[in-house]
């Protein structure tokens, strides 16, 4: 996590000046995410105090993790796009379209004749396809990411409604549901997928050229171009990557709900962006962490869980969510400024 305190875009307010590099604990991964760790720990304490064993039980833990895994996979993808200086508002719609496409009668018939893996590939291909369209529009068509993905948000969900005729398409493939709904050594398959995606994301971001290029492109695209990087191709690839993540999320969601519908993934764009931002990734690009994003997702999911365990209503929960976003960002910034001095 220490590798990407690189070239923050000049002018972006919360970015630390690259001048000083104090190698204290606080600038390490723990320090950087301290605000999040504290927030999550606090939530857990509240959970244990108010709900006791019902919160602390293994089943509840896996419930939280399983809930977090779908949005988590999307958020990890979103982290890459945001670090790369972009934004994607269409993730929820892409999840919906992928889930619908992968559960049509035709796809399901193919899956019955061949193997349910067909549904998995369909979902991921559809996701990647949408991501590719986004990427090409943004990188080569020079349409602002905000606008291009806003268009995709409308179009993909519309297409999902057309394909599904606004009906809920039940997954009839028991093999599919059993596999993704099952667990390995007590750990739900969905959680394993989330963990694999997060770890892969961390490695790609911190230990590969691709990751370093992402940070460079997001930090200063012009400098990256002058340094000989294919900025356009890289930007397009980031959206494809997020599209693939959406496809995977669609598969997970289909397994969780045993259905594909055009209402899946509702408001994922906001949930994912919120998780990424409270995770400490700069919305302006050039800096961010996967670990922070994972914490961000866990905080929101745990919050919902604690509220439900205490039989509290959703409106209070929304207020708490808003407060947490602000507090977490403030704490993050406090540590960021301390790091600077």
């Amino acid at each position: 996590m220490t590798t990407h305190e690189t070239t923050a875009k000049p002018g972006s307010p919360p970015a630390p000046k690259p001048a000083s590099r104090v190698t204290t604990v606080l600038s390490g991964p723990i320090g950087r995410n301290l605000g999040l760790v504290v927030a999550l720990a606090l939530l857990c304490v509240i959970g244990i105090v108010t709900a006791g064993d019902r919160f602390g039980s293994i089943e509840n833990l896996t419930t939280i993790l399983r809930l977090a895994s779908v949005i988590g996979v999307v958020s990890v993808g979103m982290t890459f796009v945001i670090i790369g200086g972009g934004i994607d508002l269409s993730v929820g719609a892409i999840v919906a379209l992928s889930s619908v496409w992968a559960t049509t009668l035709a796809t399901q018939k193919l899956a019955t004749d061949f193997h349910w893996i067909v549904m998995v590939f369909t979902a991921i291909l559809v996701g990647a396809g949408c991501g590719l369209v986004n990427g090409i529009l943004i990188a080569y068509g020079r349409i602002t990411a905000f606008i291009a993905t806003l268009a995709m948000l409308a179009a993909a969900r519309g297409l999902a409604e057309i394909i599904s005729q606004k009906k809920t398409q039940i997954v009839r493939e028991r093999g599919f549901v059993d596999f993704f709904g099952g667990d390995v050594a007590g750990i739900p398959v969905l959680v394993i997928i989330f963990a694999l995606v997060a770890v892969t994301g961390w490695i790609v971001l911190n230990r590969t050229t691709f990751g370093r290029r992402t940070i460079a492109v997001g930090g200063n695209a012009e400098a990256a171009r002058l340094a000989g990087m294919k900025v356009k191709r890289h930007t397009a690839l980031l959206y494809v990557l997020l599209g693939v993540a959406c496809g995977i999320a669609a598969v997970m969601l289909m397994a969780r709900t045993t259905a594909g519908t055009s209402t899946h993934g509702s408001l994922y764009e906001l949930d994912a962006i919120a998780a990424v931002v409270i995770g400490g990734t700069l919305l302006s690009g050039g800096r961010g962490t996967i670990v922070g994003t994972v914490f961000g997702v866990l905080i929101f999911t745990t919050l919902t869980n604690v509220f439900t365990l205490n039989n509290l209503d959703t409106s209070t929960q929304a207020v708490a969510k808003g407060a947490i976003i602000v507090v977490a960002v403030l704490i993050q910034r406090r540590f960021a400024t301390r790091e600077r001095t």
Binding site: A51, R54, S57, E59, N60, T63, R66, L67, E161, Q165, K166, K167, T168, I170, G181, L253, R256, T257, T258, A259, T261, S262, T263, H264, G265, S266, T304, N305, T308, L309, N310, N311, D313, T314, S315
Partner: protein, 349 residues
């Protein structure tokens, strides 16, 4: 307001109308003799269905983003097709109140004979509906009520409070028949900010109070499969043992049931709401206890009522010669014993 509430009360008895319609359908299906035209509406011996003067009806409803609303649209259009004297103009379904207002304005400018309107938001569409009424176009208000009685000639509603009552009363019956000492009763609501959700919850709580019970755990979802699954899995953690669960909506019920199956929790009686075909099939196979109907045929009824209004006809089963001002549909409980009767009325979610 009180102005119309009183006649509405009076009419309530007469308003078994829908129940009547229901029995008519049932009458159709239970009749083993092949009917020459199974689709032809049957009613109590009047000339109401004989084609009359041409009626242009403008219909506008929210975007059909879930099964129930989809069924609202399709049954309305199917009903209009049965009458050669109806010319139905359907405005594109939307979730934007201001767009819907402009659709109604277009209907007014086109001088349609009547408007059937299922508003995205009752209050938001009241003003424009009033404008239509002032222009002499009768408005049939479906499902979500306007905030003024001057805005519609007829209001036809599902009974959200009644759904809660039906579900709660059925739950009370279970408590007695299963002899549950201190039952844990849970509720999975729909979108909490909607008045209809609040009405359902209020009805449920009121009915439970009648047998000395309360809702122990309550969560709210968003009427979508995904939100139902998420709310239900958290709920199952919140309550290690549950005896009765009422889920407001069978569309989100697909997700709710997935959560039950994932967690392998089936110790409770699972009661649904709305009455989708999925739910009715679960009831048939025994994986669901019951569901409370919220008829998706309200807009279809609205179309028929609009036609009667314009043609100056009354309801043939009423002595009164005018179409009533307010019709509240019944919310019966569908169980294994009567599911076959209701299955044809179910909607694909």
């Amino acid at each position: 307001m009180s102005w119309s509430v009183r006649p509405a009360r009076k009419l309530l008895t007469a308003l078994g109308i829908l129940a009547a319609a229901g029995t008519l359908v049932a009458g159709c299906t239970s009749n083993s003799e092949p009917q020459p035209a199974a689709d032809a509406p049957v009613n109590a011996g009047s000339s109401n269905d004989t084609p009359g003067e041409k009626v242009v009806i403008g219909f506008s409803g929210p975007q059909a983003d879930h099964g129930w609303l989809g069924a609202i649209n399709s049954t309305a259009q199917a009903e209009a097709k049965k009458y050669p004297d109806i010319d139905l103009r359907v405005a594109e379904g939307t979730n934007d109140a201001s767009l819907q207002i402009s659709q109604i304005e277009t209907f007014i400018n086109d001088h349609v004979d009547a408007i059937v309107l299922l508003p995205i938001d009752g209050a938001a569409l009241t003003e424009v509906a009033r404008k239509a009424m002032n222009a002499g176009i009768p408005v049939v208000n479906v499902d979500r009520e306007f905030s003024s009685d001057f805005a519609s000639r007829v209001t036809i509603l599902g009974d959200n409070y009644g759904m809660g009552i039906s579900a709660g009363t059925y739950a009370c019956g279970l408590v007695r028949s299963k002899n549950l000492g201190n039952p844990v009763i849970a509720e999975i609501a729909g979108i909490d900010s909607l008045p209809l959700t609040q009405d359902r919850s209020r009805g449920f709580a009121d009915a439970l109070r009648a047998c000395g019970q309360t809702v122990d755990n309550r969560v709210a979802a968003q009427f979508t499969v995904e939100s139902g699954e998420a709310a239900a899995s958290n709920l199952l953690q919140a309550a290690p043992r549950i005896d009765i669960i009422w889920n407001h909506d069978d569309d989100q019920g697909v997700g709710v049931k997935a959560a039950f199956d994932n967690a392998n929790r089936h110790e409770f009686a699972f009661i649904g709401g709305a009455g989708s075909k999925n739910a009715m099939r679960w009831i048939q196979e025994g994986s669901m206890e019951a569901t409370v109907l919220y008829p998706p045929t309200q807009a279809a009824d609205g179309i028929r009522l609009a036609r009667l209004l314009v043609q100056n006809k009354g309801l043939s089963d009423l002595v009164q010669v005018e179409v009533p001002r307010r019709i509240v549909l019944n919310a019966p409980v569908v169980t294994k014993s009567n599911v076959d009767k209701y299955l044809p009325l179910g909607f694909e979610s």
